[in-house]
Amino acid sequence: MSIFKKLVDIKNWQRTTKTIAIVILAVLALVIVLSAINVSEQDMLNHASDSVKQLIEEEKTSSRKSLTITYDNLGVVSYISFTTSGASAIKESYVGFAGSIYGADQGAGKFAGQMVNYTYRMLGTGENLLHGVKLTLLLTTLSMLIGALMSIFLALGKISENKLISKLSSAYIFFFRGTPLLIQMFVIYFSVPGIFGFSWRSLFSAADPEAVYKGAFIAALIAFSLNAAAYCAEIVRAAIQSIDKGQNEASKALGLSYGQMMRTVIIPQSIRRMIPPLCNEFVMMIKDVSLVFAISLMDITTISKTIMTSEGNYLVFIPALLIYLVITAIFTFIFGKIEKRLSIYE
């Protein structure tokens, strides 16, 4: 509610906020206009050469499907290509922008077309959440949330006066920080089902063609969460132990129990100190997601490698880098905001 009030209260916005808002609105308006006037899929299809149109007709009756029509619409720009497979492949492609259609078989048009196609594929547009950017975001956010929650208990366990709990927590942290995430994921995906006699795929309906990928995602989510918990635990522990001993003594003198002290005094103060290292951990994890290629999931890195394999074009890494930078920038910004909000008392 307070956020809403703040947003409405334009008069009291800071100058920079106003500037940013204006720029965002301007860009948004431009995007909407450009998207609105862009050519439709039908127009793009009609733009194909006669030989390709003839091929499309032949394809309808042919038993071997050799023609693939790719239509990638990114709003402002769209891309269409007609490609045949096999040893004698032919390719025809066009880029649509601001109401006109340009050839994309060579020169700048080709570059633009490739960028649109690659970006579209890495964003995982038109596919479910387990592809591309969506997979990266889903896996990192979920495992970071679960991991951070677990890490609080691990950190408290590690600094606990109970020797057994402390040793167990330390052992957990040591194990997950001391072994590679990839191997942990392999163990969870390959070894664990073998030992306990189930398969990740069988967690979902047999009729679901995506069951394999969903199963792999669950396994990856578990591996990433367990791993994140270990790394976050060290961050949380360091933050908790950085809080002045006097806070502990004052709480005791006031009669607060250990749990009350942790919940209301120590952890709220340490959270602010956790934010910057947690942000680092988060950014690292965004990149670690590329490990899921090993269990059949397609994240940004895997998709760009796949494109590299089929097209041998190293330009594919340009949109990949840009996408990673944008994600990282957005999350760094969000974490910065959270940190600022939590520091109001300082």
Partner: protein, 256 residues
């Protein structure tokens, strides 16, 4: 008078940090309403004694009585007797503590600092806690700072909030551990005034302090500690004007 003789007393209290013995055979009995100032050179064990009373330090040996009831008895680092946990908690709440470095909760406002333990420990309703908190904050003269975070307050103001926070638990004894030592000289007075006010209202107080003027004016009894022992005690007049112990004489000479 009250149903007990001493509100707080210790017998043969010893405390060591490893091989270092910081408290040696401390015997002290406090009557209700009494104001006792503990003075002495640094390293004398004054703070450790105060912190031992409310269990921030574990004593090595000795007995602690609260309202004549044996609260804790330890010999050679082994607990011989201690009261039930619930009773222990209740007895500890009879003591309020004010620290040298204030130790306010920096992420809570002044009002929240004073309300927190009332709600969590005394299980009061928010309204009741707020009402009492506002009263006490007014008593320490900070009614205009209710919603301010501690970092925005001066040292003297912070210490007054810390006193209010301790008072809000309605203790019978207040322990002050060098409450003015971390303050700039011009801020000492406002804190001492609050403490004087408390003394006047009859609060039992145990103050470790370097403020001799305060001790002379307010204390019923002054205790001189050095090397972990109580070397001399008496009324302010006796101790300040006619000290007999040699260490006390040289200490008083050095600071007066």
């Amino acid at each position: 008078m009250s149903e007990y003789q001493h509100i707080l007393s210790t017998e043969h209290l010893y405390k060591s940090f490893g091989p270092l013995e910081v408290l040696k055979d401390i015997n002290l009995a406090v009557k209700k309403g009494e104001v006792i100032c503990i003075i002495g050179p640094s390293g004398a064990g004054k703070s450790t004694y105060l912190r031992s009373l409310n269990q921030l330090e574990k004593i090595t040996s000795g007995k602690i009585f609260i309202k004549d009831e044996l609260f804790l008895h330890r010999e050679h680092n082994r607990t011989i007797h201690r009261v039930e946990p619930d009773a222990q908690k209740a007895m500890l709440l009879e003591m309020g503590m004010v620290f040298q470095r204030f130790n306010l909760f920096p992420h809570k406002t002044v009002l929240e600092n004073v309300m927190l333990a009332q709600v969590l420990v005394r299980k009061k309703s928010k309204d009741a806690a707020e009402k009492l908190a506002k009263e006490i904050i007014e008593r320490v003269g900070l009614s205009d700072k209710l919603d301010v975070y501690p970092s925005k307050l001066s040292g003297g103001q912070q210490q007054r909030v810390a006193i209010a926070r301790a008072l809000a638990m309605e203790p019978e004894i207040m322990l002050f551990d060098e409450p003015t030592s971390a303050l700039d000289p011009e801020l000492v007075g406002e804190v001492l005034n609050v403490m004087k006010g408390l003394a006047k209202q009859g609060m039992t107080m145990l103050c470790v302090t370097h403020e001799m003027g305060f001790a002379r004016e307010v204390a019923d009894r002054v205790v001189f500690m050095a090397d972990g022992m109580i070397l001399e005690e008496g009324t302010p007049k006796e101790l300040f004007d006619h000290p007999t112990n040699e260490k006390a004489i040289s200490f008083l000479r050095s600071i007066l």
